[in-house]
């Protein structure tokens, strides 16, 4: 089925139809991805979804009034109703006690419901059946015409140009709107511009992916790109690249399998990219995080082993006595394999020494063991003194905290407690 020859033929773009679809979806995808960064960073994904759904009644009304399905006719209608939805959400937020998500949901369902009603009406009224309006639900990229490319290209250019022009203002607006306003930026007008551009991106996108999936085209590229970079500029470019890639692949799938719709496939590819990023991205990805967690678990285990040996030395009053594996196991139940491994790595790190009498703490190991015991006991003391917890309720919590507390926190803890010498169980707090 998937042949390289076909892919190459497709990529050569020698068929005009392929060209229209590929260029059209790329332009729409990039425009949506660029503006979507700010939607994503301002946590307005839901608003994007509401706008996307809300353009449907505008499209239907424009068609009913003008009787044409040219984009030049339908898009202004879509734009107006998307914009009205945005204003309605704003108005409800300002003038009622409804929570923002409720306001968004309300506007989405009212507008979309009206749109579906109008659509049904059009389809039942004779000429509606060939109007193809229902394609606006899920998009129909195959129907992109050369004239449409002009619409996409111009709006795309306008949109990217304005974003470039206002990049630093939009960034500040997304990060800290209060500061922006206090510094004298025209926040209201910038917000209006940003929202208008979002509506514009949504409106041009519905032809390819449709109102139902449009929000995904807006948000997914930014969400995926965020996993890979900590710089906004790079995030915008990467998101645009993801959108372009998804557009090409989505178009290819529907070229190969003519009954496959392009728009939904673009979204499928985008989602796959986002999923891949979520799992594999360095540092922010799931695998990287899992690895961090494993390392932390490993560290906790090592520290517990060390502390166990320290406690044994403490109770004997002699830190030089060795300890065999069974003895460690006797004081605290470890998984035997993990215990062996931890003992081995502790020895490698120079915290433990192994001799005829078993494992014993090196000088450095002794210091580290004392530090762990100290933090544990300080924290127990803190909990009993400040939170008035009973002494027999604080051990588990301290057990978790001792692996997290940093030297600065430790110093603060000591100072707050007045450099205590005994813990709530009347044990020494080692220095």
């Amino acid at each position: 089925m998937l042949s390289l020859k076909e892919l190459l033929h497709f990529l050569s773009l020698s068929e005009p139809n392929i060209r229209y679809v590929v260029f059209g979806t790329i332009m729409v995808g990039i425009a949506a991805a660029v503006i979507g960064n700010f939607t994503f960073l301002r946590k307005r994904a839901l608003v994007g979804d509401a706008i996307a759904h809300a353009v449907l009644p505008g499209i239907c009304l424009a068609f009913m009034l003008q009787g044409s399905r040219s984009l030049w006719v339908l898009l202004p209608g879509a734009f107006v109703s998307g914009w009205l939805a945005l204003l309605s959400i704003d108005w409800i937020n300002r003038n009622s006690r409804l929570k923002p998500d409720a306001a968004i949901g309300l506007v989405l369902s009212v507008f979309f419901g009206t749109g579906v009603l109008l659509l049904t009406y059009i389809q039942q009224s004779g000429d509606g059946s060939q109007s193809g309006l229902k394609h606006f639900l899920f998009g129909q990229a195959a129907a992109i015409l050369p004239g449409d490319l002009w619409v996409f290209g111009l709006t795309g250019l306008l949109l990217c140009g304005l974003v470039a022009l206002f990049f630093k203002e939009f960034t500040l607006l997304s990060f800290d709107p209060d500061f922006a306003q206090a510094a004298g930026l025209p926040v209201r007008r910038l917000e209006l511009l940003l929202s208008t551009l979002t509506v514009l991106a949504v409106v041009t996108g519905i032809q390819t992916v449709g109102v139902v999936l449009m929000a995904a085209l807006l948000i997914t590229p930014a969400a995926a790109a965020r996993f890979w970079t900590d710089r906004l500029g790079a995030m915008v470019l990467l998101g645009a690249a993801f959108a372009a890639l998804a557009s090409v692949l989505g178009s290819f799938v529907s070229y190969q399998q003519p009954n496959m719709p392009t728009g939904p496939w673009i979204i499928v590819v985008l989602s796959a990219i986002a999923f891949f990023s979520m799992v594999f991205a360095p540092r922010r990805g799931g695998l990287a995080r899992l690895w961090d967690k494993l390392r932390h678990a490993w560290k906790i285990r090592e520290e517990n082993v060390l502390k166990t040996i320290y406690h044994s030395g403490e109770s004997l009053g002699d830190f030089t006595a060795g300890m065999h594996i069974e003895a460690v196991q006797g004081r605290r139940a470890f998984n035997p394999w993990q215990l062996r491994l931890s003992l081995f790595t502790l020895q490698r790190r120079g915290l433990l020494q192994y001799g005829a009498s078993g494992y014993r703490l090196s000088g450095e190991g002794l210091r580290e063991g004392a530090r762990l015991a100290r933090i544990h006991r300080l924290w127990e003391l803190y909990l009993t003194e400040y939170l008035r917890l009973a002494p027999d309720h604080v051990h588990d919590d301290a057990e978790a905290m001792e692996h997290l507390i940093t030297p600065e926190l430790e110093a603060q803890l000591e100072a707050a407690l007045g450099y205590p010498e005994r813990d709530p169980h009347d044990r020494d707090i080692p220095r």
Binding site: L41, E169, L172, D178, F179, A183, L185, M235
Partner: protein, 261 residues
């Protein structure tokens, strides 16, 4: 109780602010002179953040008005710097510490204009002043709470203002950051700037500020610290709500804690 001030840096006249008709500030009226380090204290929900936001016109006021250096905010905006509460933004934002400080330069640069090398130099210098130059390119989410607070302060410095309004710059910072921030504020004050700081800790308030505004929805007292930071005023501000704070207040009032370090 308020102290009259001639040639004030900031005057607040009969300011009332409401949230859905519920007053958060009620007829607040005070002034602070130029060149002081002033503290706003009051219990949780006293309206401290609301006061700062209302001064910056981030909230609509029900009545009253504010004058800064004898003018309206719009006329002197370039001379004022606002430091929001650290928790008011999402720090998991794709920006570096330097990026955030540069935001303090946007206004001087104006719309459309690109930031210049001079802006970058100033921003770096401000990071240096708060001891964060080593973290310039660090992603802001990877900074500790105290470091994030310092970045906010550096951003305010980059604005090169004459009046600074800061919402809890000492919240959630460690002891060393607290000292560093205090030193910075004192230095600013000594160079003639006026600084208004929302502060939570009464124990240190006595030591940090030379002017005090004590707030609990209404204004309890405003004036030089040694005049208004008294047992009686503290009790009036905090009511019977917080016995611990009251105890500290008593201590400060009766024993006269060291007034300056």
């Amino acid at each position: 109780m308020t102290t009259p001030v001639s040639e004030p840096a900031l005057e607040v006249h009969d300011l009332t602010v409401t949230y859905q008709r519920k007053p958060a500030l009620w007829d607040v009226d005070f002034a602070i002179p130029a060149g002081v380090l002033a503290g706003i204290v009051g219990p949780n929900g006293a309206g401290k953040s609301t006061l700062i936001k209302a001064i910056m016109e981030l909230l609509p006021t029900a009545s009253g008005y504010v004058r800064i250096f004898g003018k309206s905010l719009e006329e002197v905006r370039g001379r004022i710097s606002y430091v929001p509460q650290r928790e008011s933004v999402d720090w998991d934002f794709p920006a570096s510490a330097l990026d955030v400080v540069l935001m303090g330069r946007y206004r001087q640069r104006g719309l459309f204009r690109r930031l210049s090398d001079r802006d970058r130099r100033i921003a770096r210098d401000c990071l240096h002043q708060v001891g964060m130059e080593a973290f310039a390119s660090r992603q802001i989410a990877q900074l500790s709470g105290g470091q994030q607070q310092r970045v906010f302060l550096a951003r305010a410095l980059a604005q090169e203002a004459d009046l600074y309004l800061m919402d809890e710059p000492f919240a959630g910072v460690d002891a060393s950051t607290e000292e560093a921030v205090l030193e910075l504020l004192t230095r600013l004050r000594d160079s003639g700037k006026t600084i208004l700081v929302v502060h939570h800790d009464l124990q240190t308030a006595a030591r940090y500020f030379d002017w005090m505004i004590m707030l609990n929805t209404r204004l309890v007292a405003a004036g030089p610290r040694e005049q208004v930071f008294t047992n009686e005023m503290l009790q009036e501000t905090y009511g019977g709500k917080l016995t611990l704070l009251q105890a500290v207040g008593n201590l400060a009032g009766s024993k006269g804690l060291p007034l300056r370090e």
